[in-house]
Amino acid sequence: MHESAAQIFINAFLANNFVLAMFLGLCPFIGVSGKLETAVPMGVASTFVMLVASLCAFGINILLAHLGLEFLRLIAYIVIIASTVQLVEMVLKKYSPGLFRALGIYLPLITTNCAVLGVALFQTAREYDFVQSITFAVGAGAGFTLALVLMASVRERLTLSDVPAVAQGTALSLMLAGILSLAFMGFAGLGG
């Protein structure tokens, strides 16, 4: 693996966008993208969890490889992510109760956000070193936030438009995501 940091970032951010090209983190993408004001904090919170999880996963991986316990990797990762989410939840509850209420059930659900576990698993599978891992986590988080913000902006405008009753709700969101995903395919090859 001789990808430069910039390549990894662009790849995770645009060319292989976590949500629109790799289908990771779709639950919050469909669930929280109704309003712009919750989409941004959700993206930032997820990015933070991704970064911490990526750092811990890097350390844990070395430790487990050293002890020859690779089969515990998945369990260790998921426990780390769950604890990080708990931490973010407590911090938000203390310093920003309004935001805490707005995010509601989706905050603890970051634990089951595949994008977070995805970052940890992919960086292991691709054998990224320390700097590469951090870049990858930040790029993935930025990509997730970008997709969330784009989707929320489109959906905010759609609330005023006349949509056939059958197509309202998730079906419409999925169609929109498909079109966004088509647009993101234009970035293919950018990361080299």
Binding site: F23, L26, L74, V79, L109, A165, M175, S181, L182, M185
Partner: protein
């Protein structure tokens, strides 16, 4: 009070039709869209998820009186992660080609919301038998849903079904269907169809009240 066979059948069908995890509850989207580029992949993913969902729910149901309420979610996750690790090594042993095709998405079964949702909403409150039936029904519903997506995407995007060419050599594959956008479009289309059916069902009792009784 013993549940009759009909009730059990009802419980099973609940997961396949009325509460279908993919098309009605719209859960577990990540694996549903990422691996369904072909019918074989979709079916394997469905079977892997079935194994994890059923085993985890059975274990959670058996341990439900032992698990303290405060740490239940963490416990469920660890139980699920254990079974996913088992499935991960199992697929690797059975077929390396399949393992490469599914990639990290086998391990990502851990974060499939359907499994945690079932463990929390059903298995933690019910004894073994209802849990087993419910879990099997949900898994069957999810597998069918994945298969519906995978089959459509493979037929349109590659012109094949389980690898067998369906159309003549002149067929121009609709490549976008096996690319990421196709996943969104096909699932969106299925949801549209289900929404249309649900609307017609809801509209019916008004025109002919006799059919209102289930």
């Amino acid at each position: 009070m013993n549940a009759s066979t009909t009730e059990r059948w009802d419980e099973f069908m609940e997961g396949i039709w009325r509460q279908n995890p993919l098309f009605v509850m719209v859960l577990g989207l990540c694996p549903a869209l990422a691996v369904t580029v072909s019918a074989v992949n979709a079916l394997s993913m469905g079977l892997a998820t079935t194994f994890v969902l059923t085993c985890s729910c059975v274990l959670v149901s058996l341990l439900r009186k032992l698990i303290p309420k405060e740490v239940r979610i963490a416990t469920y996750i660890v139980i699920i992660a254990t079974f996913v690790t088992v499935v991960d090594y199992l697929i690797q042993a059975i077929s390396l080609a399949l393992y490469d095709a599914l990639g990290a998405f086998i391990q990502l079964i851990v974060v499939n919301c359907i499994i945690l949702g079932r463990a929390e909403a059903h298995a933690s409150k019910n004894p073994l038998l209802p849990t087993l039936i419910n879990a099997l029904g949900m898994s069957a519903g999810f597998t069918l849903g994945l298969f519906a997506l995978g089959a459509v995407r493979e037929i349109l995007g590659a012109g094949t079904f389980f690898g067998i060419a369906l159309f003549g050599a002149d067929f121009q594959p609709w490549v976008v269907m096996v690319l990421p956008p196709g996943g969104f479009f096909v699932l969106g289309a299925w949801l549209l169809i289900f929404a249309a059916i649900a609307r017609r069902k809801n509209a019916r009792p008004l025109s002919s009240p006799a059919q209102g009784v289930r």
